[in-house]
């Protein structure tokens, strides 16, 4: 069964450093998402992406964050200058079409630890 994959599974970085989290969505999907979960808190929507542009973003997704689909398979989330409060589990998801009545398939997540 096709699945969303994410690398790395765990990333440790120092405050102020740039990190890139990578995701490979399901191959025929067109819509891509990033969510995050700070320990003990809710899973929160960050951004959705379609046709090489952001279609929606939350207030969390500020100028420190960017997303990119650099080739036909990868979907990346970059945090330009990490802060301690960016420590969280980051989930990538993809779906075949837009609208939440279409299933979003999630990856296993990348745990980001900022020290």
């Amino acid at each position: 069964e096709p699945e969303v994959t994410q690398t790395p599974s765990h990333q440790v970085t120092q405050m102020g450093q740039e990190v890139i989290l990578r995701c490979v969505p399901i191959s025929n999907h067109l819509y891509f998402y990033w969510y995050r979960q700070i320990l003990g808190q809710k899973v929160e929507f960050l951004v959705s992406f379609y046709n090489n542009e952001i279609s929606e973003k939350s207030e969390i997704f500020d100028d420190q964050f960017s997303v990119e689909r650099p080739d036909g398979s990868n979907f990346t989330l970059k945090i330009r200058s990490t802060k301690l409060e960016d420590s969280a589990m980051y989930f990538c998801a993809s779906s075949a079409a837009t609208g939440t009545h279409y299933e979003q398939y999630f990856g296993p997540g990348t745990r980001l630890t900022v020290t």
């Binding site: 998402y33 969510y35 899973v43 929507f45 609208g99 979003q104 999630f106 296993p108 997540g109």
Partner: protein, 114 residues
């Protein structure tokens, strides 16, 4: 604004016992409703979803959920829990035709004792 509440952070049941995980939402109309499960090291897997129609929906792995509009609830149930059901369970809502984002609860961690 829409929100989802899962009142139980951690639930422990014996294998073979019945299970009910609670989920309440806040939204002016009927949202799309979902239950996801996350096993250790795995992604969030969709268990079941409700869009409209029959308020009792069946999902994978023997789970079911019932939408109760009067209580703004979408509780997840299973008549007999298996040790492999130990995982984190997330309730989520989607707003029809308005956005792609899912709004999640904080999750309920299920522990199963043999």
């Amino acid at each position: 604004a829409q929100s989802v509440t899962q009142p139980d952070i951690h639930i422990t049941v014996s294998e073979g016992a019945s299970l009910e995980l609670r989920c309440n939402y806040s939204y002016g109309a009927t949202p799309y409703l979902f239950w996801y499960v996350q096993s250790p090291g795995q992604g969030l897997q969709l268990l079941l979803k409700y869009f409209s129609g029959d308020t009792l929906v069946q999902g994978i792995k023997g789970f079911e959920a019932e939408f109760k509009r009067s209580q703004s609830s979408f509780n997840l149930r299973k008549p007999s829990v298996h040790w492999s059901d130990a995982a984190e369970y997330f309730c989520a809502v989607g707003v029809p035709d308005d956005t792609d984002k899912l709004i999640f609860g904080t999750g309920t961690r299920l522990q199963v004792f043999p």
